[in-house]
């Protein structure tokens, strides 16, 4: 039941996406910067012929907030609160790459307990980010209700984060060598409760969406792309895994304590929007698995136990691996030794990287952000050529671009 939906077989002439000699029957529609489905302020110069998209050229930079310039004009510690805004839907990942970059340069050791806390928070944040994607993706396809359900569960995660960090979206929780504070008492139990609750919720979502005939019509066979093209364009994350490549930093270069938990990397087979949807839904389940194992294995256990053991004079409870920060540094006057490193993390959208160069002053010499969305967005014109106009929303939604990360 599809009309003229020819699949792009060859790539576009590089970079020149908008052909200037417009045919009489073609119409140039300027989608954005303000549009309900551009997920921020993205401008897409789209040439359509009837409902068929002929050309599309993304124009970015509307949300450029000079994050890289800011890094060079203030101390590392002063810069830290602002990097939540690089990718605000999964702010823990921003912090993780930045903090880890500096830890590697300075040789700061992170206590194991804090690494587990980082792992739990990042996985919770991955679920929150995927939930927002789930809601907005279906909203782009015209279904309004999933958005509200997704936000309901996202709020539960945010309440957990609020207990932990005091903020719901801009956490500023990790510190060089550890974190801001230990978990509140009973927080791990709250995380487990969320896992139990969310496991049923995600079954509900899958029940209403996964086999919905209209949803299948809109996503199956739409935006098919092979893995080689995606890798050549630098696309990573669930978008790449939907095309069948099990590329996951958590498996390949385990950071935190991902080598101490077992989980699977879901991959799709056909590389269409539907597979990307399935991969993300499966990833949320895998995240639940990781959180459960991490809560079970975390050194020191719940903070209440740890405090009690310390009060009772248990020497083992004062172990360095159970401290909030392994080495105490004065953050206000801290001068990082000269060095450079690029740290990448498996963010909900792919490889999120921070290339940090320090020169012995309190400021960073250079701080470059490698946003996953920045690279993922480059593949959109390729996927859209020759597709129908409504497919734009399905495809754009399925590669999960978040504009603050693109523009930084």
């Amino acid at each position: 039941m599809s009309m003229a939906t020819e699949q792009p077989t060859q790539s576009l002439p590089q970079g020149v996406y908008l052909e200037k000699d417009i045919d009489a029957g073609e119409l140039t529609v300027n989608i954005g910067p303000q549009h309900p489905s551009t997920h921020g302020v993205l401008r897409l110069i789209t040439t359509i012929d009837g409902e068929v998209v002929r050309d599309i050229e993304p124009v970015i930079g509307y949300l450029h907030r000079s994050k890289e310039k800011m890094a060079e004009s203030r101390s590392l510690f002063q810069y830290q609160p602002t990097i939540d805004r690089v990718e605000y839907l999964s702010a823990f990942f921003d912090h993780y790459v930045f903090v880890t970059s500096l830890e590697q340069i300075a040789g700061l050791k992170v206590p194991k307990r804090m690494q587990y806390v980082r792992m739990i928070t990042m996985e919770l944040n991955r679920i929150a980010s995927h939930l927002l994607w789930f809601g907005t993706f279906l909203l782009d396809l015209g279904a309004t209700s999933p958005m509200f359900y997704a936000f309901r569960d996202r709020e539960k995660i945010f309440s957990l984060f609020e207990q932990l960090t005091g903020a719901r979206m801009m956490y500023n929780y990790y510190r060089f060598g550890g974190a801001n504070a230990d978990m509140p008492e009973g927080w791990l139990e709250g995380a487990l409760d969320f896992c139990d609750d969310f496991e049923q919720r995600i079954d509900e979502y899958e029940a209403i969406v996964t086999k919905n005939p209209i949803f299948l019509d809109r996503t199956v066979g739409v935006g098919v792309v092979d893995a080689e093209t995606l890798i050549a364009h630098g696309v990573t994350g669930p978008t790449l895994r939907g095309s069948g490549v099990a590329l996951d930093q958590r498996k390949d270069n385990p950071y935190c304590c991902y080598d101490e938990v077992t989980f699977d990397v879901p991959v799709g087979q056909n590389g269409d929007c539907y597979d990307r949807y399935l991969v993300r839904m499966a990833e949320m389940r895998e995240s639940l698995k990781i959180i459960r194992q991490a809560v079970r294995q975390i050194p020191g256990g719940d903070t209440a136990d740890l405090m009690r053991r310390r009060a009772e004079g248990d020497e083992a409870a004062n172990d360095i691996e159970l401290q909030i920060a392994g080495q105490k540094i004065n953050l206000l006057t801290y001068k990082a030794p000269p060095g450079e490193v690029m740290t990448t993390v498996e963010s909900p959208r792919g490889f999120l990287g921070c290339y940090l160069i320090t020169d012995g002053t309190p400021k960073a010499y250079r701080c470059k952000w490698r946003g996953a969305s920045f690279s993922n967005l480059t593949v959109l014109p390729l996927l859209m050529k020759g597709r129908l106009f409504p497919d734009l929303m399905a495809i754009f939604g399925s590669i999960d671009v978040i504009l603050p990360e693109v523009d930084r």
Partner: protein
């Protein structure tokens, strides 16, 4: 406050090929040797220069600007570096440097390639994903990438003057309101 310098002097972890900072200052470090990829490039008739590995121990090579494209092709075809993570511009006050972070989805290896100069060949034909990254480096640093199909500003407005992330860049544009004070 008092223990701060001590903390700074703490040695780095011994996992990488890194030398402790103290020793590096005292005695000149031995020149780094070419790693696997560096030797591969050397074998292909190119002249890579080994640089000290970064803090995570990733191999770093410097390539002459004129040989950058051949080097990248070799690295993609022979060393399976199929994923270009990013192209970052860096202003070293004397020269501009483009830093290419490569990743292999097959061998999971990482590599850093550096090339100096404000005029470099574009690697868009090697990795199509370099398109926007090179535009960004051009926009923020003014590095000219020869052979780039569409080299124009990407983050800053099209009529912006100067390249903001250069170290000699000053914000004295009369059009900017915050300069009126």
């Amino acid at each position: 406050m008092s223990d701060e310098p001590k903390e700074n002097d703490k040695p780095k972890p011994s996992d990488g090929a890194e030398k402790p900072a103290k020793k590096a200052e005292a005695a000149a470090p031995p020149p780094p040797e070419l790693g696997v990829c560096g030797k591969l490039l050397e074998g292909a008739g190119l002249k890579p220069v080994a640089l000290p590995a970064d803090a995570a121990g990733t191999e770093t090579v410097q390539v002459d600007g004129g040989q950058l494209k051949q080097a990248c092709e070799r690295l993609r075809d022979d060393a399976q570096f199929d994923l270009l993570l990013s192209v970052s511009g860096v202003d070293n006050k004397t020269t501009l440097t483009a830093v290419y972070h490569l990743y292999s989805t097959k061998t999971k290896a990482k590599l850093v390639v550096k090339a100096n100069g404000d005029k470099l060949p574009s690697v868009v034909s090697v990795w199509p994903g370099a398109d926007w990254h090179e535009r960004e480096a051009y926009d923020l640093f003014g590095i000219q990438f020869d052979g780039h199909p569409n080299l124009k500003r990407i983050l800053m407005p099209d009529d912006w003057v100067g390249h903001p992330l250069r170290k000699d860049y000053t914000v004295d544009d009369p059009r900017l309101v915050w300069n009126e004070r």
